[in-house]
Symmetry: C2
Subunit: 152 residues, 2 copies
DNA sequence: TCTCTATGATTGACAAGGAAACTATAGGTT
DNA sequence: AACCTATAGTTTCCTTGTCAATCATAGAGA
Protein backbone atom coordinates (compact mmCIF):
# COMPACT_ATOMS: atom_id res chain seq x y z
CA UNK A 1 0.00 0.00 0.00
CA UNK A 2 1.91 3.06 -1.18
CA UNK A 3 -0.41 5.43 0.69
CA UNK A 4 -0.01 8.70 -1.18
CA UNK A 5 1.18 10.71 1.76
CA UNK A 6 -1.85 12.84 2.31
CA UNK A 7 -0.79 16.01 0.53
CA UNK A 8 -0.17 17.96 3.65
CA UNK A 9 -0.83 21.56 2.78
CA UNK A 10 2.40 22.63 4.39
CA UNK A 11 4.39 20.20 2.30
CA UNK A 12 3.90 22.28 -0.82
CA UNK A 13 6.60 24.69 -1.79
CA UNK A 14 3.94 26.74 -3.51
CA UNK A 15 2.23 27.15 -0.18
CA UNK A 16 5.35 28.50 1.53
CA UNK A 17 6.21 30.69 -1.36
CA UNK A 18 2.79 32.31 -1.29
CA UNK A 19 2.89 32.56 2.45
CA UNK A 20 6.20 34.39 2.59
CA UNK A 21 5.64 36.43 -0.53
CA UNK A 22 2.33 37.77 0.71
CA UNK A 23 3.88 38.83 3.96
CA UNK A 24 6.75 40.56 2.24
CA UNK A 25 4.36 42.38 -0.06
CA UNK A 26 1.99 43.30 2.72
CA UNK A 27 4.83 44.72 4.76
CA UNK A 28 5.94 46.74 1.79
CA UNK A 29 2.39 47.91 1.15
CA UNK A 30 2.23 49.30 4.67
CA UNK A 31 5.48 51.16 4.12
CA UNK A 32 4.56 52.85 0.86
CA UNK A 33 1.03 53.55 2.04
CA UNK A 34 2.40 56.28 4.26
CA UNK A 35 3.64 57.95 1.10
CA UNK A 36 0.21 57.80 -0.42
CA UNK A 37 0.86 55.12 -3.01
CA UNK A 38 0.06 51.45 -3.42
CA UNK A 39 2.45 48.69 -4.41
CA UNK A 40 1.06 48.59 -7.94
CA UNK A 41 1.51 52.32 -8.21
CA UNK A 42 5.10 52.04 -7.05
CA UNK A 43 5.88 49.40 -9.63
CA UNK A 44 4.42 51.50 -12.40
CA UNK A 45 6.30 54.60 -11.30
CA UNK A 46 9.52 52.62 -11.07
CA UNK A 47 9.09 51.22 -14.55
CA UNK A 48 8.69 54.70 -15.92
CA UNK A 49 11.81 55.99 -14.29
CA UNK A 50 13.93 54.16 -16.84
CA UNK A 51 11.99 55.15 -19.90
CA UNK A 52 11.11 58.58 -21.13
CA UNK A 53 7.56 57.57 -22.05
CA UNK A 54 5.94 54.19 -22.39
CA UNK A 55 2.81 52.68 -23.87
CA UNK A 56 0.18 51.38 -21.46
CA UNK A 57 0.18 48.07 -23.27
CA UNK A 58 3.88 47.61 -22.64
CA UNK A 59 3.31 48.31 -18.98
CA UNK A 60 0.52 45.76 -18.92
CA UNK A 61 2.87 43.13 -20.30
CA UNK A 62 5.67 43.98 -17.94
CA UNK A 63 3.54 44.26 -14.86
CA UNK A 64 1.39 41.23 -15.53
CA UNK A 65 -1.82 43.17 -15.40
CA UNK A 66 -4.55 43.58 -17.95
CA UNK A 67 -4.73 46.70 -20.04
CA UNK A 68 -7.92 47.62 -18.29
CA UNK A 69 -6.17 47.52 -14.95
CA UNK A 70 -3.32 49.67 -16.25
CA UNK A 71 -5.81 52.13 -17.62
CA UNK A 72 -7.38 52.57 -14.20
CA UNK A 73 -4.06 52.53 -12.40
CA UNK A 74 -2.86 55.30 -14.68
CA UNK A 75 -6.03 57.24 -13.97
CA UNK A 76 -5.30 57.13 -10.27
CA UNK A 77 -1.70 58.24 -10.70
CA UNK A 78 -2.79 61.04 -13.00
CA UNK A 79 -5.29 62.13 -10.39
CA UNK A 80 -2.37 62.33 -7.97
CA UNK A 81 -0.41 64.40 -10.49
CA UNK A 82 2.38 61.85 -10.62
CA UNK A 83 1.77 60.82 -14.21
CA UNK A 84 0.67 62.30 -17.51
CA UNK A 85 -1.04 60.68 -20.43
CA UNK A 86 -0.36 61.96 -23.94
CA UNK A 87 -1.43 60.95 -27.41
CA UNK A 88 1.22 59.18 -29.43
CA UNK A 89 1.98 61.45 -32.39
CA UNK A 90 2.85 58.48 -34.59
CA UNK A 91 -0.20 56.31 -33.94
CA UNK A 92 -3.65 57.71 -33.45
CA UNK A 93 -4.69 54.77 -31.31
CA UNK A 94 -1.76 54.82 -28.95
CA UNK A 95 -1.15 56.70 -25.76
CA UNK A 96 2.05 57.25 -23.86
CA UNK A 97 2.54 57.58 -20.15
CA UNK A 98 5.32 59.52 -18.52
CA UNK A 99 6.23 60.76 -15.09
CA UNK A 100 5.53 64.25 -13.95
CA UNK A 101 8.21 66.10 -12.08
CA UNK A 102 6.50 65.17 -8.85
CA UNK A 103 6.30 61.56 -9.91
CA UNK A 104 9.97 61.42 -10.71
CA UNK A 105 10.81 63.07 -7.43
CA UNK A 106 8.81 60.52 -5.50
CA UNK A 107 10.59 57.41 -6.77
CA UNK A 108 13.86 57.54 -4.80
CA UNK A 109 12.08 57.64 -1.47
CA UNK A 110 9.99 54.65 -2.43
CA UNK A 111 13.06 52.82 -3.69
CA UNK A 112 14.63 53.29 -0.29
CA UNK A 113 11.57 51.70 1.26
CA UNK A 114 11.91 48.75 -1.09
CA UNK A 115 15.52 48.37 0.00
CA UNK A 116 14.47 48.53 3.63
CA UNK A 117 11.75 45.97 3.12
CA UNK A 118 14.13 43.58 1.45
CA UNK A 119 16.60 44.04 4.25
CA UNK A 120 13.92 43.36 6.81
CA UNK A 121 13.06 39.98 5.36
CA UNK A 122 16.29 38.75 3.81
CA UNK A 123 19.21 40.33 5.60
CA UNK A 124 19.45 37.55 8.13
CA UNK A 125 20.19 35.07 5.36
CA UNK A 126 23.76 34.17 4.58
CA UNK A 127 25.08 35.60 1.32
CA UNK A 128 25.07 32.06 -0.05
CA UNK A 129 21.42 31.57 0.80
CA UNK A 130 20.50 34.90 -0.73
CA UNK A 131 22.34 34.00 -3.89
CA UNK A 132 20.72 30.57 -4.00
CA UNK A 133 17.26 32.00 -3.50
CA UNK A 134 17.75 34.49 -6.29
CA UNK A 135 19.18 31.83 -8.57
CA UNK A 136 16.28 29.47 -7.91
CA UNK A 137 13.65 32.14 -8.48
CA UNK A 138 15.30 33.38 -11.66
CA UNK A 139 15.66 29.80 -12.78
CA UNK A 140 11.95 29.16 -12.40
CA UNK A 141 11.16 32.30 -14.35
CA UNK A 142 13.48 31.22 -17.12
CA UNK A 143 12.40 27.61 -17.18
CA UNK A 144 8.75 28.51 -17.34
CA UNK A 145 9.23 31.40 -19.73
CA UNK A 146 7.36 33.77 -17.47
CA UNK A 147 6.87 37.11 -19.07
CA UNK A 148 5.71 39.61 -16.61
CA UNK A 149 6.05 41.10 -13.20
CA UNK A 150 3.16 40.41 -10.86
CA UNK A 151 1.90 43.05 -8.61
CA UNK A 152 -0.51 42.09 -5.90
CA UNK B 1 31.58 57.45 -3.12
CA UNK B 2 29.53 54.41 -2.10
CA UNK B 3 26.80 55.33 -4.57
CA UNK B 4 23.76 53.46 -3.36
CA UNK B 5 23.31 51.52 -6.54
CA UNK B 6 20.06 52.89 -7.81
CA UNK B 7 17.67 50.33 -6.35
CA UNK B 8 17.09 48.43 -9.52
CA UNK B 9 13.65 46.95 -9.19
CA UNK B 10 14.92 43.56 -10.30
CA UNK B 11 17.59 43.57 -7.64
CA UNK B 12 15.06 43.04 -4.90
CA UNK B 13 14.45 39.53 -3.70
CA UNK B 14 10.97 40.64 -2.74
CA UNK B 15 10.33 41.43 -6.36
CA UNK B 16 11.34 38.00 -7.57
CA UNK B 17 9.50 36.29 -4.79
CA UNK B 18 6.30 38.08 -5.67
CA UNK B 19 6.86 37.48 -9.33
CA UNK B 20 7.28 33.74 -9.03
CA UNK B 21 4.74 33.30 -6.29
CA UNK B 22 2.03 35.04 -8.26
CA UNK B 23 2.67 32.84 -11.23
CA UNK B 24 2.58 29.69 -9.16
CA UNK B 25 -0.65 30.77 -7.54
CA UNK B 26 -2.22 31.84 -10.80
CA UNK B 27 -1.38 28.52 -12.38
CA UNK B 28 -2.92 26.75 -9.43
CA UNK B 29 -5.99 28.96 -9.62
CA UNK B 30 -6.53 27.89 -13.21
CA UNK B 31 -6.30 24.26 -12.20
CA UNK B 32 -8.78 24.34 -9.35
CA UNK B 33 -11.11 26.63 -11.26
CA UNK B 34 -12.11 23.68 -13.41
CA UNK B 35 -13.35 22.03 -10.23
CA UNK B 36 -15.44 25.03 -9.40
CA UNK B 37 -13.42 26.37 -6.50
CA UNK B 38 -11.00 29.22 -5.92
CA UNK B 39 -7.63 29.05 -4.23
CA UNK B 40 -9.01 30.61 -1.06
CA UNK B 41 -11.80 28.08 -1.04
CA UNK B 42 -9.32 25.23 -1.43
CA UNK B 43 -7.26 26.45 1.48
CA UNK B 44 -10.30 26.70 3.70
CA UNK B 45 -11.49 23.23 2.73
CA UNK B 46 -8.03 21.81 3.31
CA UNK B 47 -7.84 23.37 6.76
CA UNK B 48 -11.11 21.78 7.68
CA UNK B 49 -10.07 18.33 6.61
CA UNK B 50 -7.88 18.04 9.67
CA UNK B 51 -10.37 19.32 12.20
CA UNK B 52 -13.87 18.17 12.91
CA UNK B 53 -15.24 21.68 13.19
CA UNK B 54 -13.52 25.01 13.51
CA UNK B 55 -14.39 28.58 14.46
CA UNK B 56 -14.38 31.18 11.70
CA UNK B 57 -12.08 33.35 13.76
CA UNK B 58 -9.50 30.58 13.94
CA UNK B 59 -9.64 30.20 10.20
CA UNK B 60 -9.19 33.93 9.78
CA UNK B 61 -6.02 33.77 11.85
CA UNK B 62 -4.65 30.76 10.05
CA UNK B 63 -5.48 31.96 6.59
CA UNK B 64 -4.39 35.54 7.09
CA UNK B 65 -7.73 36.96 6.14
CA UNK B 66 -10.12 39.16 8.04
CA UNK B 67 -13.13 37.69 9.74
CA UNK B 68 -15.34 39.48 7.29
CA UNK B 69 -13.61 37.75 4.42
CA UNK B 70 -13.98 34.36 6.06
CA UNK B 71 -17.62 35.04 6.67
CA UNK B 72 -18.21 35.66 2.98
CA UNK B 73 -15.93 32.86 1.89
CA UNK B 74 -17.89 30.50 4.10
CA UNK B 75 -21.12 31.80 2.59
CA UNK B 76 -19.90 30.87 -0.85
CA UNK B 77 -18.84 27.39 0.19
CA UNK B 78 -22.12 26.86 1.96
CA UNK B 79 -23.94 27.90 -1.20
CA UNK B 80 -21.95 25.21 -2.99
CA UNK B 81 -22.98 22.70 -0.32
CA UNK B 82 -19.39 22.00 0.61
CA UNK B 83 -19.61 23.49 4.08
CA UNK B 84 -22.05 23.86 6.94
CA UNK B 85 -22.29 26.50 9.59
CA UNK B 86 -23.59 25.61 13.04
CA UNK B 87 -24.05 27.46 16.30
CA UNK B 88 -21.49 26.65 18.95
CA UNK B 89 -23.42 25.02 21.81
CA UNK B 90 -20.95 26.34 24.37
CA UNK B 91 -20.84 29.98 23.34
CA UNK B 92 -23.84 31.83 22.07
CA UNK B 93 -21.72 34.16 19.97
CA UNK B 94 -19.62 31.54 18.27
CA UNK B 95 -20.18 29.58 15.13
CA UNK B 96 -18.44 26.48 13.86
CA UNK B 97 -17.73 25.47 10.32
CA UNK B 98 -17.38 21.92 9.12
CA UNK B 99 -17.20 20.07 5.83
CA UNK B 100 -20.19 18.43 4.27
CA UNK B 101 -19.80 14.99 2.84
CA UNK B 102 -19.39 16.56 -0.59
CA UNK B 103 -16.80 18.99 0.73
CA UNK B 104 -14.78 16.21 2.26
CA UNK B 105 -15.00 14.19 -0.91
CA UNK B 106 -13.71 17.09 -2.98
CA UNK B 107 -10.46 17.65 -1.12
CA UNK B 108 -8.35 14.73 -2.39
CA UNK B 109 -8.81 15.74 -6.00
CA UNK B 110 -7.78 19.27 -5.22
CA UNK B 111 -4.81 18.04 -3.23
CA UNK B 112 -3.67 16.13 -6.28
CA UNK B 113 -3.83 19.36 -8.26
CA UNK B 114 -1.71 21.06 -5.63
CA UNK B 115 0.84 18.27 -5.98
CA UNK B 116 0.79 18.64 -9.74
CA UNK B 117 1.21 22.37 -9.56
CA UNK B 118 4.17 22.05 -7.24
CA UNK B 119 5.72 19.51 -9.56
CA UNK B 120 5.24 21.81 -12.51
CA UNK B 121 7.19 24.62 -10.94
CA UNK B 122 9.70 22.90 -8.69
CA UNK B 123 10.42 19.46 -10.03
CA UNK B 124 13.27 20.64 -12.19
CA UNK B 125 15.15 21.79 -9.10
CA UNK B 126 17.73 19.53 -7.56
CA UNK B 127 16.67 17.96 -4.27
CA UNK B 128 19.26 20.17 -2.59
CA UNK B 129 17.78 23.30 -4.09
CA UNK B 130 14.29 22.26 -3.09
CA UNK B 131 15.45 21.60 0.44
CA UNK B 132 17.26 24.91 0.57
CA UNK B 133 14.28 26.82 -0.72
CA UNK B 134 12.01 25.25 1.85
CA UNK B 135 14.50 25.88 4.61
CA UNK B 136 14.90 29.53 3.63
CA UNK B 137 11.17 30.14 3.44
CA UNK B 138 10.50 28.41 6.73
CA UNK B 139 13.36 30.33 8.24
CA UNK B 140 11.86 33.63 7.23
CA UNK B 141 8.52 32.64 8.68
CA UNK B 142 10.15 31.67 11.93
CA UNK B 143 12.44 34.66 12.12
CA UNK B 144 9.65 37.08 11.50
CA UNK B 145 7.13 35.25 13.65
CA UNK B 146 4.60 35.16 10.87
CA UNK B 147 1.33 33.80 12.05
CA UNK B 148 -0.88 33.01 9.18
CA UNK B 149 -1.22 31.51 5.79
CA UNK B 150 -1.83 33.98 3.01
CA UNK B 151 -4.25 33.24 0.31
CA UNK B 152 -4.37 35.49 -2.70
C1' DT C 1 -28.08 41.74 39.84
C1' DC C 2 -26.79 45.48 36.88
C1' DT C 3 -23.66 47.44 34.04
C1' DC C 4 -19.55 47.83 31.29
C1' DT C 5 -16.40 46.16 28.36
C1' DA C 6 -14.54 42.50 25.42
C1' DT C 7 -15.28 39.19 21.94
C1' DG C 8 -17.38 36.46 17.83
C1' DA C 9 -19.56 37.08 13.74
C1' DT C 10 -21.94 39.46 10.11
C1' DT C 11 -22.96 43.34 7.14
C1' DG C 12 -22.34 47.45 4.17
C1' DA C 13 -19.44 50.56 1.76
C1' DC C 14 -15.51 50.81 -0.83
C1' DA C 15 -11.10 49.46 -3.54
C1' DA C 16 -8.79 47.14 -7.19
C1' DG C 17 -8.23 43.77 -10.60
C1' DG C 18 -10.04 40.48 -14.53
C1' DA C 19 -13.00 39.45 -18.59
C1' DA C 20 -15.39 40.96 -22.19
C1' DA C 21 -17.73 44.47 -24.79
C1' DC C 22 -16.90 48.61 -27.05
C1' DT C 23 -14.53 52.65 -29.66
C1' DA C 24 -11.23 54.36 -32.67
C1' DT C 25 -7.47 53.96 -35.68
C1' DA C 26 -4.06 51.31 -38.70
C1' DG C 27 -2.94 48.81 -42.46
C1' DG C 28 -3.50 45.32 -45.88
C1' DT C 29 -6.36 43.59 -49.87
C1' DT C 30 -9.09 43.99 -53.66
C1' DA D 1 -11.18 54.21 -52.62
C1' DA D 2 -13.79 50.70 -49.88
C1' DC D 3 -13.66 47.21 -46.91
C1' DC D 4 -11.96 44.00 -43.48
C1' DT D 5 -9.34 42.64 -39.89
C1' DA D 6 -5.97 43.56 -36.27
C1' DT D 7 -4.52 46.46 -32.63
C1' DA D 8 -4.54 50.19 -28.66
C1' DG D 9 -7.18 51.81 -25.02
C1' DT D 10 -11.18 52.48 -22.27
C1' DT D 11 -15.33 51.17 -20.01
C1' DT D 12 -18.68 48.12 -17.77
C1' DC D 13 -19.79 44.50 -14.89
C1' DC D 14 -18.40 41.09 -11.66
C1' DT D 15 -15.62 39.09 -8.02
C1' DT D 16 -13.31 39.19 -3.79
C1' DG D 17 -10.93 41.27 -0.50
C1' DT D 18 -10.41 45.12 3.50
C1' DC D 19 -12.21 48.38 6.92
C1' DA D 20 -15.50 50.07 9.96
C1' DA D 21 -19.98 49.81 11.94
C1' DT D 22 -23.21 46.83 14.03
C1' DC D 23 -25.40 43.13 16.78
C1' DA D 24 -25.49 39.62 20.18
C1' DT D 25 -23.50 37.27 23.91
C1' DA D 26 -19.88 36.54 27.58
C1' DG D 27 -17.78 37.62 31.63
C1' DA D 28 -15.89 40.75 35.16
C1' DG D 29 -16.69 44.15 38.72
C1' DA D 30 -19.59 47.39 41.59
Amino acid sequence: MPAAPASDLTAHLGYWLRYVSNHVSQAFARKVERHGVTVAEWVLLRQLLDEEAIAPSRLADRMGMTRGAISKLADRLIAKSLLVRAADPEDGRAQTLSLTHAGRALVPGLAALADANDAEFFDHLTPEDRATLLRILRGIVEKRGLKFLPVD
